[in-house]
Amino acid sequence: MKKILSSLFLAVALLTFSEAVQAQDRYVSSKTHIKFFSTTPVEDIEANNYASVSTIVPSTGDVVFSVPIQSFEFEKAMMQEHFNNEHFLESSVYPKSKFKATILNLDEIDFTKNGEYQAEIQGQMTIKDKTNTLKEWGTITVEDQSLTVSAVFDLVLADYGITFADSEMVATKIGKSVEITITAVYNSK
C-alpha cells in the first residue's frame, strides 16, 4: 500500500514537473490578424489581413512580422484595388511588408512563466522601399506552450512615401495616419 502511494506521488510529481512551462528556442505564428483602420469625417475604412507570419526568439528578444500586402481585404473592391495599385502600396512590386524588431525590456518578460507582460518593442518597419524606426508598446501573454502578442499603434503613411497626391478620390477617404491592430498566436517550434 505504502509502495503504491509513493509511486502514485512520484507519478503526480513527474506529471506536474513535465507540465511546467519551458522556454522555447523560437516561437512561430501563422495565426495572425492585422487590422488597418482609418477614420475621416466622411467614412471609416477598415481592412483585415489574416495571412501574416511572425516569429519571436525569447533568448534574443527578436520579433519579426512578414505581411503579404495583397491579403488586406477591404469591404469595397474599389478601395482594395486602389490600396494595391502603383500609387499606393504597389503590391505587385513590393508584395510584403516587414517589421523587424527587438524587445527592449526583455528582462521583464519571463517566457517560462504564465502571465501578461508589457513589452517595449523597437525596430524597423519596411513598407514598399521605405524603412523607418518604430517604437511601440505591446502585450505578450504567456500561456503554457503558446504566446499571444497584441499591439495597437498608428502609422503615418507619408513616412513610407504614400502621399495620396495622385488620387484625389482616395486621398479624401483615407486619413493621413492609420491605426494598426495586431494579434498573433505563437506555438513553439
Binding site: S30, H33, A51, T55, V64, P68, K76, S92, V93, P95
Partner: protein, 161 residues
C-alpha cells in the same frame, strides 16, 4: 423662344449626363469583389511546381502571378494535405506540401467553402482553386521559408485514396 429651347435641351443633356456619370461612379464605388470561384483558372499546376518556380526566380514569378490592382492570377493547385488549421477569421487553412519541398501552398478557404473540407484528412491529395496573394521565399529574418498564399479557396478535386 428658340434660345429657351436650346437652353432646355442643354439642361436635359446636362442632367442626363450627371445621372449617368453619377450612376457609373456609384457603381464603380460599390462594385462587388471578383468572384474567384466562378472565374476560370489562369494556371493549373502542382504545389511543388509553383514553389520551385518561386524559389528559382522570385521576381519573375511575382511578375507572372501578381497583378498591380491586387486581382492576381487565379490558380488551380494540386498537392498533398499536410495540415488543416483555422485562422482568426474562422476560415479553414489547408497546407499543401510536397515531401521533398522546402515550402508549401497555404490555401485559405472562406465561410462559404469551409464545409467542403469536411472529411478531408492529412495525407489526402486534393486540388484547390484560389487567388494568389504572395509567393514562396526564404526569409532570412524569419529564418524560415514562407509558403505561397492562396485566398478565397475552394476544393475542386479530391483523389480517392
Amino acid at each position: 423662344m428658340k434660345k429657351r429651347k436650346v437652353f432646355r435641351i442643354i439642361a436635359i443633356i446636362g442632367i442626363a449626363g450627371l445621372l449617368v456619370g453619377g450612376g457609373i461612379g456609384l457603381y464603380m464605388f460599390n462594385k462587388p469583389h471578383r468572384d474567384v470561384q466562378s472565374a476560370q483558372a489562369d494556371y493549373v499546376l502542382t504545389s511543388s511546381q509553383i514553389v520551385a518556380e518561386y524559389l528559382t526566380d522570385y521576381q519573375a514569378a511575382n511578375q507572372k502571378y501578381l497583378a498591380a490592382d491586387g486581382n492576381s492570377k487565379i490558380l488551380e493547385i494540386s498537392g498533398e494535405v499536410s495540415e488543416i488549421s483555422e485562422n482568426f477569421n474562422g476560415q479553414k487553412v489547408v497546407l499543401l506540401y510536397g515531401v521533398k519541398d522546402r515550402a508549401g501552398v497555404s490555401a485559405i478557404f472562406t465561410a462559404e467553402t469551409n464545409d467542403n473540407l469536411n472529411g478531408i484528412k492529412v495525407g489526402r491529395k486534393i486540388t484547390v482553386k484560389g487567388v494568389i496573394r504572395s509567393g514562396a521565399s526564404y526569409d532570412e529574418d524569419l529564418e524560415m521559408y514562407e509558403n505561397v498564399i492562396l485566398e478565397k479557396s475552394d476544393i475542386v478535386k479530391e483523389e480517392n485514396n
